[in-house]
């Protein structure tokens, strides 16, 4: 099965990959009738860039020692990662209908013990970056060239333990660690910027000693550049890509909603959303 170079050799565009991730996520959300679909639609471009441009992995061997690790802190984004794993061929399409059901390998909150390709048990926010620090140290001990990616959310930056890990990654010069912050300015009770996040996140990370980039997380060209720079940055320091994303990106009637942390949609609206997406199917 394809590693990164083979994946790149295919003619499937990143835009098409992101489209497929959105479509799979909508299909799964339809099974439940509700869910964290706003985040999944928002982060689809970031995941497409991660899984179909940046990362090394083998779809038929998710435990392959040479893989890049992808740690999803934010367990409730599982629907988005399942969609990426479906598109990558790590999860089979015929399990889409089981999402969030009893006996499914795809529970609502991501857990390592359930799902191939789900590396850690997320959900208790503020743990992923610390685990990533340990794994990055371990990979260095083994002289591995693999990267550890940790996807965390802007709301998760409120957890003090995240900052313990931020400091530690600099102390240990973890140039094999790439943090991806999905900054959608939406947490459970309202805008993240009304809570603990600030508009100046990148300078904050730089002040701690990280190589920090800030990009439009729904601009595939910008994302590709940012991921390339993060991987190839010459200095011995950890890297962060702060991705400003739009909740519900790609489905206008959902984008316009006020509260999008956990979305409930009328039964007929799922078909409408998928139809809207299908109208814009990229090559």
């Amino acid at each position: 099965m394809p590693n990164r170079s083979e994946t790149r050799a295919t003619n499937v565009s990143l835009a098409r990959r992101a489209w497929a991730i959105r479509r799979y996520a909508l299909q799964m959300a339809e099974v439940q009738g509700q869910g964290y679909i706003g985040q999944a639609l928002g982060v689809a471009d970031v995941l497409a860039t991660s899984y179909f441009h940046a990362m090394n992995y083998r779809a038929d061997d998710p435990e392959w020692e040479g893989r890049d690790r992808f740690y999803l802190s934010i367990g409730h984004y599982a629907i988005a990662l399942y969609a990426a794993l479906l598109e990558a061929g790590i999860l089979p399409e015929d399990e889409i209908e089981t999402y969030g059901m009893d006996d499914s390998r795809m529970p609502m909150s991501g857990m390592a013990a359930y799902t191939p390709g789900m590396e850690i048990t997320g959900g208790s926010l503020g743990q992923g970056l610390g685990i990533a620090v340990g794994a990055a140290l371990g990979l260095k001990r083994k002289a591995s060239g693999s990267f550890v990616y940790n996807m965390l959310s802007d709301g998760e930056l409120g957890e003090g333990s995240t900052w313990e890990a931020v400091m530690s990654a600099v102390q240990w010069k973890l140039d094999n660690l790439i943090a991806i912050v999905d900054f959608n300015n939406q947490q459970a009770d309202g805008p993240t910027l009304d809570a603990l996040a600030t508009p100046e996140e990148a300078p904050k990370w730089r002040a701690f000693g990280w190589y920090a980039q800030e990009v439009d997380g729904n601009d595939l060209t910008a994302l590709v550049q940012a991921f390339d720079k993060a991987r190839n940055h010459p200095d011995r320091q950890p890297r962060v890509i702060i991705c400003h994303t739009k909740m519900c990106k790609g489905i206008p009637f959902l984008e316009d909603r006020e509260s999008t942390h956990f979305i409930r949609v009328e039964a007929d609206e799922w078909a409408k959303a998928i139809a809207l997406l299908d109208e814009d199917k990229p090559l």
Partner: protein
């Protein structure tokens, strides 16, 4: 209504006159427990780990600024490139240990028992225990082993840790057992929480030909009148109390149960069911949720109905002071143990 003025807790200060009539100074935070009139061994945990590491390249050590005070410095000096100083960051300590374990290493993570149990619980639960990773959490200052007050006295750590699925919980007695248990847990899959005695640690069990076995309670000394079931340094106190009571014609068995979880229910119930003995649990821990309640639950579930008493610390935030004073005050010295058992027998 009006908001009341700011308030503070009622003063705890009340002058005490210790039994000896002399006031004792609080010792250093992490004084050795060497005032037992026994041979001691230096830093048994650190030396065992360093020894083990010679043949085990997968062993790494991490501490949150307490390597010196957990004896991990012995390992760190022997294998500096395998030691990770994580700083004063216990959440990170546990998460990073989990990350290293994911990559195939067997991390020994050390801090004080208060910080692991109270501060880092969710990180141990979700990053380590839920995934059954082989992280060995080894913690100094268990129970009442410092006079610095509640900030450093882990009087409820066993209660907290017993609640965590997948986690093996150990409370070893002495230097011999810490040495052996360190080697055993390195070979045991899954996460472990082990209480440590550090510095100069008494050698007590050596003379009994004891060998630590994970999950096993062992009869160290048999007796016909009382069955003391104990863990940690309370086993050495129980053995001394048994000697003192024997001089008065009261014969105590001492069943040492260093594995708090999974508890050796079979041995404990079998010994208690022999009958004719007062069952007394003895632990350096709160009366709530530790060895005593674990034993009580096991006996009740097995329908073993016996007279039962607990020697444990009270369910309170304890006082500051000198350890000998505090151990006397809270009833866990040899003399107090013997006196309480005698009183119960006379009841």
């Amino acid at each position: 209504m009006t908001i009341p003025a700011s308030s503070r807790r009622k003063s705890k200060y009340s002058p005490r006159t210790p039994a000896s009539g002399e006031r004792v100074a609080t010792s250093a935070m992490i004084a050795s427990l060497d005032a037992e009139g026994r041979e001691t061994i230096a830093a048994p945990f650190g030396h065992a780990l360093a020894d083990l590491a010679r043949s085990r390249e997968d062993i790494v050590g991490l501490s949150a600024d307490l390597s010196k005070y957990t004896d991990l410095h012995v390992f760190a000096e022997a294998y500096p490139d395998r030691f990770y100083q994580m700083g004063m960051a216990e959440a990170l300590l546990m998460s990073a240990a989990a990350g290293l374990a994911r990559e195939g290493f067997v991390p020994f993570a050390t801090t004080y028992a208060v910080f692991a149990s109270r501060r880092a619980y969710d990180f141990i639960a979700m990053a380590i225990a839920e995934e059954d990773l082989p992280v060995k959490i080894c913690c100094a200052l268990p129970g009442l082993s410092t006079g610095y007050g509640p900030s450093h006295q882990a009087t409820e750590d066993l209660a907290i840790m017993r609640g965590m699925p997948n986690l093996t919980v150990l409370d070893p007695c002495d230097a011999v057992e810490i040495d052996q248990a360190t080697r055993v847990i390195a070979d045991t899959p899954g996460p472990v929480y082990m209480r440590l005695l550090r510095g100069k640690v008494p050698n007590v069990l050596g003379e009994y030909g004891y060998r630590f076995e994970l999950g096993k309670a062992q009869m160290i000394h048999d007796g016909s009148d009382v069955l003391i079931i104990s863990s940690g340094f309370m086993t050495m106190r129980a053995l001394d109390a048994a000697k003192a009571l024997a001089a008065d014609g009261v014969f105590c068995a001492v069943l040492h149960s260093p594995t708090i979880k999974p508890l050796d229910v079979e041995t404990i119930c079998a010994e208690a069911a022999k009958g004719g003995r007062l069952v007394v649990t003895a632990e350096n821990h709160s009366i709530t949720g530790g060895l005593g309640e674990a034993v009580a639950g096991a006996l009740m579930r097995a329908q073993v109905h016996v007279p039962f008493r607990q020697i444990a610390l009270p369910d309170e935030f304890l006082d500051a002071g000198a350890l000998p004073t505090l151990h006397d005050q809270y009833g866990i010295t040899v003399e107090r143990i013997a006196a309480r058992i005698k009183a119960w027998l006379e009841d």
